[in-house]
């Protein structure tokens, strides 16, 4: 690694050095608010650096890309980290989170996500994945007084360790078959007639299992609702958007070199179908918003998988757009929950939201928009996202997956409408919640504007994505 490589990694270095500095400062000066705010500033600085500071080389140490695609996701995850920190300001205050550690971990997680998204080798992929997963183990259980947080953290830890095992073993097998960690060369032994093909297939299958755990595809999704429910709401937002999105961002690079029509395609298709169906049916009876959103995230990852499977420029750009739209909307939805939380806890049961549409109109309205976006109703970002996925699926000949996606969308409306009904149409009213701080309103406004702009004028982002995808 030379000087140019370091310069190319500048945005990630900003995140990491900022994270370390805030951790150090936090040890001596335990002022929560300035620490979290400076964390948000660091994240925004990293985003600006990634956006406006062109890299001198396009690949670093044959492990990480520094090109437009990597930079795109660095901007995205930095922005997600900044929003998460804004949403944690009051939330962390009321739960006496140690500011230095919390900020540092969020920034560290963002750096890990950015690295994972830009991975161009299997080693890079492993390192990126593990670095943000480590941060998340701690963040999920960050609320020390909460019993559910500890349970969630432990669940994530145990299953995460299993996934890591699969991932490491899978990578070892792939390396055995191909002799390289680098992508896309490592995919070569999957081609028909290649030597060591069975070994490579086994390796890829194990890698897929690990990925399945991380992005909670059925049948590896069972940890999701408990972890979502137990983790602090801002952390759940980060977990739902960043950790899953970054894995898919890396998969796009991975699949870009995949030979078409291999054995993996039918397996992935079945995985996507089962994920859609099981996630949808499991979300239906939920009475807890966070658990419902957990199953909904399972379903959304099914949609993303369809896009990935469809492949081609259309499929890849559909995946990336979907990830951006999903990030904006999901972090907004968990942000609303965080901003309604007070010292007594988060509103989670549907009953806690009764009639809030008229007591807290901005946040309830925003939550309704986010839910409609998750359901894919125009004119929101979610509609354009699903539109792209269905388009790619039909183009690639997966009409049956598109039909299944439509069916899942239709059923999903039932569980997305239930919170909306509770918010605006309930007879009784739940107690007034916290009025929310200015920072929370600002962060939610950003998500709301993103959800609507990406639905009404998605053109510029679509063009940008078309230019950066590998």
């Amino acid at each position: 690694m030379n000087w140019l490589d370091l310069v190319a990694l500048a945005p990630i270095l900003v995140l990491l050095l900022g994270s370390t500095a805030i951790l150090m400062v936090g040890a001596w000066w335990q002022a929560r608010r300035p620490l979290l705010l400076s964390g948000a500033v660091v994240a925004l600085a990293a985003a600006l650096c990634a956006g406006f500071f062109p890299p001198p080389v396009l690949e670093v140490a044959a492990m990480y890309g520094a090109g437009p695609y990597a930079r795109f996701f660095t901007v995205l995850w930095s922005a997600v980290a900044a929003v998460t920190l804004l949403l944690s300001l009051r939330y962390g205050e009321e739960r006496a989170f140690p500011g230095g550690e919390y900020t540092s971990l969020v920034l560290f997680a963002a750096a890990g996500m950015a690295l994972l998204s830009s991975a161009t080798s299997l080693i890079g992929l492993f390192l990126g994945l593990e670095s943000f997963t480590l941060a998340l183990y701690i963040l999920i259980a960050f609320h020390k007084q909460g019993v559910e947080g500890a349970e969630a953290g432990l669940k994530y830890l145990v299953l995460g360790a299993v996934a890591t095992g699969f991932l490491a073993f899978g990578i070892a097998l792939i390396y055995t078959a191909s002799g390289t960690f680098h992508l896309p060369e490592a995919v070569a032994p999957l081609a028909a007639g290649a030597q060591m093909r069975p070994v490579a297939l086994l390796g890829w299958a194990m890698l897929l299992v690990a990925v399945g755990f991380k992005v909670s595809l059925v049948p590896f999704h069972l940890w999701t609702p408990d972890v979502y429910q137990g983790a602090p709401a801002p952390v759940t937002g980060l977990l739902a958007t960043g950790s899953k999105g970054a894995v898919f961002a890396a998969l796009v690079t991975l699949f870009a070199g995949m030979p078409a029509g291999g054995e993996l395609a039918p397996i992935l298709a079945v995985l996507a179908a089962v994920t859609l169906l099981v996630g949808t049916l499991a979300a239906l009876p939920q009475q807890n918003v966070k658990r419902m959103l957990a199953y909904s995230s399972v379903v959304h990852m099914g949609y993303v998988l369809i896009g990935l499977l469809a492949g081609g420029p259309a499929g890849r750009s559909a995946v990336v757009f979907y990830l951006v739209a999903y990030a904006a909307v999901t972090i907004g939805a968990f942000g609303v929950i965080a901003s309604l939380a007070d010292g007594d806890g988060e509103p989670q049961d549907y009953a806690d939201f009764r009639g809030l549409g008229y007591r807290h109109p901005f946040r309830a309205g925003a939550l309704a928009v986010f839910l409609f976006s998750l359901a894919g109703i125009p004119p929101t970002a979610g509609f354009i996202g699903k539109f792209g996925i269905f388009y790619a699926a039909i183009q690639a000949g997966y009409l049956w997956l598109a039909l299944l996606g439509v069916l899942a969308s239709l059923i999903s409306l039932v569980y997305y409408l239930r919170p909306v009904i509770v918010l605006f149409m309930a007879e009784e009213e739940a107690p007034v919640r916290h009025p929310g701080s200015a920072e929370e309103h600002a962060a939610l406004l950003v998500c709301l504007v993103a959800a609507l702009i990406l639905g009404i004028l998605p053109g510029p982002l679509l063009d940008l994505i078309g230019a950066v995808i590998p």
Partner: protein
């Protein structure tokens, strides 16, 4: 001076209600200001629509056309077009929305949101009648769904949540399949020509194999049949109409149902001419089934609002029958009948709301003797009932006679059967009159007769009933050109 010929009047039509909705949300603390803003916005929209009607009503081809790039990557464009067919629907929308605002005037619950939703819905409906890009059309199609869901769910009666969700799910089920069909057509067209576009005019040239055309058309037909509604996908309608607040019922019956028929005329038939031609007997069969089945069910209803709701299914059966007959007279009659039905059924729903406000019941068993207690209101109600059952000289007669004449010309059997439907319509309508107006008064306390606000709602409707009944020519004039083109398999 702004050049009127190039001024984007169609965009203005869509923007005015949205601006009004925004004003309502900004004035959220002052209900009176919200009402005023809503009235001003709907009146301004109506003024633009009426201006277009007076200026362009006798033109041919596209009277107005706007086309801009929108989402370049998918080839989606912002294309709006106004021809005679759209013009009539736009005029009806703008007219009924002014009255809906007046109908909702006394609403006390969450006033800003109520009027904002009415106005957003107006934009959505107008967009449906103007859009010529399939994705843009789909966007407006869904946009009118969400406000109606909230209107039913928040301001509705008894089983409002059930009705609201059912309405949403039924409509979305159809429209999602339509979305897939739109994508399928888009890809097919792109593969053939290399041009990926959602423009209606371009997609019509797509070469489709017989079975593909049939599947795509079936998806479109399902989406539109749910909205019309055709039996057997009509079951959302009685619930939604009955539980909706009065303004919601007026808009549902007066406008949303028309978007289904309009969709068939504008998109379904021209995009898939062969499949559409093959489906005409099926449409006629379903329409006739609807006429009789809905009339029969309407006859036994105990709730006045539900009775009128079922009567809508029967009336829309006539409209679809006219389309299925597929000749100039019948199709023009169908389109005219859409306007007629919007006016009369809108009036009936508004009046049932007025009766409900006084009697606090809509059950026929609890009503009766209104003529003795509120004579002016009863007079209007009787008048609109007569219009609804097709009394000659009033509006519904004009539409029905055109439909029947046209149908007899090509399909005498269908026409003869439909004649029987007219008798059925008389039966349930007279039962409505009998149950509400005649008989012994059911109470003693004095009721106020027609108020000024109610008069402002009913007089324009009554004028329209007479005008459309006695001299429909100005409203048929814009239709001649579009219907001729439609029957030739084309559009402007």
């Amino acid at each position: 001076m702004i050049e009127l010929a190039t001024f984007p009047l169609l965009t203005l039509l869509l923007a005015l209600p949205l601006a009004g909705a925004l004003a309502c949300l900004l004035f959220a603390g002052r209900p009176a200001a919200c009402r005023a803003a809503a009235l001003v916005a709907t009146l301004a929209t109506f003024a633009v629509a009426a201006g277009l009607f007076l200026a362009d009503g006798r033109g041919s081809g596209w009277l107005r056309f706007e086309d801009h790039a929108w989402i370049g990557r998918f080839g989606i464009r912002y294309t709006l077009g106004l021809d005679g067919l759209s013009l009539l629907m736009v005029l009806l929308t703008a007219f009924l929305l002014v009255l809906s605002v007046l109908v909702s005037w006394p609403e006390q619950k969450h006033v800003p949101l109520h009027f904002a939703l009415l106005l957003v819905m107006e934009s959505g409906i107008l967009g449906v009648f103007l859009a010529l890009d399939l994705v843009l059309f789909y966007l407006f199609w869904e946009l009118m769904l969400i406000p109606m869901f909230f209107l039913i769910g928040i301001w509705g009666h008894g089983r409002r949540l059930y009705a609201a969700v059912k309405f949403f799910l039924f409509t979305l089920a159809g429209s999602l399949l339509m979305l897939l069909a739109i994508l399928g057509l888009y890809l097919q067209h792109g593969e053939q020509t290399g041009v990926y576009t959602f423009a209606l005019a371009a997609l019509r040239a797509t070469q489709l194999s017989g079975s593909l055309e049939l599947w795509l058309y079936a998806a479109f037909l399902l989406a539109f049949a749910v909205k019309v509604p055709l039996v057997p996908v009509h079951t959302w309608l009685p619930d939604a109409h009955t539980e909706a607040p009065t303004a919601g019922s007026v808009i549902l019956a007066g406008l949303l149902l028309k978007t289904g028929v309009y969709g068939l005329l504008r998109f379904g038939f021209p995009l898939f001419p062969k499949a559409a031609a093959a489906s005409l007997p099926l449409l006629a069969g379903l329409a006739l089934l609807g006429i009789f089945y809905a009339a029969w069910i309407a006859y036994v209803q105990a709730d006045a609002k539900r009775l009128v709701a079922y009567s809508s299914v029967a009336h829309l059966g006539f409209v679809v029958l006219g389309l299925a007959a597929w000749n100039v007279t019948a199709v023009e009659g169908s389109i005219l009948q859409m306007v007629n039905h919007g006016v009369t059924t809108g009036a009936l729903f508004a009046m049932i709301g007025m009766i409900d406000a006084r009697a606090r019941t809509r059950q026929l068993a609890g009503l009766g003797g209104l003529w003795a207690r509120v004579p002016v209101l009863s007079g209007f109600f009787f008048f609109f009932c007569l219009a609804s059952l097709g009394l000659p000289g009033l509006n519904n007669f004009a539409g029905e006679i055109l439909i029947l004449l046209g149908t007899f010309r090509t399909q005498p059997l269908w026409g003869a059967l439909a004649m029987g439907g007219v008798v059925f319509a008389a039966a349930y309508t007279l039962r409505l009159v009998q149950g509400t107006l005649w008989g012994e008064p059911k109470g003693e306390e004095p009721w106020p007769d027609l108020t000024v606000r109610e008069g402002l709602i009913l007089v324009p409707l009554a004028v329209m009933v007479l005008w459309l009944g006695l001299y429909p020519a100005p409203f048929l004039a814009p239709l001649h050109d579009p219907v001729r083109l439609l029957l030739q398999g084309g559009l402007p």
